[in-house]
Amino acid sequence: SQQGEEDPQALSIQEGENATMNCSYKTSINNLQWYRQNSGRGLVHLILIRSNEREKHSGRLRVTLDTSKKSSSLLITASRAADTASYFCATDPGGGYGKLTFGQGTILTVHP
């Protein structure tokens, strides 16, 4: 079963608007990661946030983590048509040895 669940499943916005995607998970984590996928092939890592962090920024990306609610959000500011892609969260569980488990993803469409 998938650890992370993203919502919404699909998001359609205009260029320049902000896009927010959410991820919920069930078990404790060591870190949570966000990835982007274009055209259904390889994924590209965007950002990693550790369980003792609450917020992280990278360029136009802002990720928050609330371990009490077992949830994370990815905010893309000032979106561009080139941001059109699928976005996945992946959880790295506490304990064990770090198996990454992915959610179903959010399909983001940014209209020019």
């Binding site: 998938q2 060591n30 870190n31 990661q33 990835y35 259904g40 092939r41 390889g42 994924l43 590209v44 890592h45 990693l48 996945f88 992946a90 790295d92 040895y97 770090g98 198996k99 990454l100 488990t101 992915f102 959610g103 179903q104 993803g105």
Partner: protein, 113 residues
């Protein structure tokens, strides 16, 4: 190499045949993952190798699926007696260690006809 390399990029096979999918991870990466992605779906975990530890095979969907990693580097995913439901993109990823980002290959698109 510069990134994770998977071969072949595309594979069409007849139902009942065996297939082998290859993954060359980034040199020095100790962790290697295999995932499967059906059209429009999320990533389904298949198997995870970490250093010399026993692999986590908990995601393999049936005993027709197996994987090995030789010398801590190249990995091969083998599917025996392929079925139409095996059609998907098979993605390989590697990471330098646990708790770090994973780097993905471009995947192998398997079509069973």
């Amino acid at each position: 190499g510069a990134g994770v390399s998977q071969s072949p990029s595309n594979k069409v096979t007849e139902k009942g045949k065996d297939v082998e999918l290859r993954c060359d991870p980034i040199s020095g990466h100790t962790a290697l993952y295999w995932y499967r992605q059906s059209l429009g779906q999320g990533l389904e975990f298949l198997i995870y190798f970490q250093g010399n530890s026993a692999p986590d095979k908990s995601g393999l969907p049936s005993d027709r699926f197996s994987a090995e990693r030789t010398g801590g580097s190249v990995s091969t995913l083998t599917i025996q007696r392929t079925q139409q439901e095996d059609s998907a993109v098979y993605l390989c990823a590697s990471s330098l260690a646990t708790r770090t980002e994973a780097f993905f290959g471009q995947g192998t698109r398997l079509t069973v006809v």
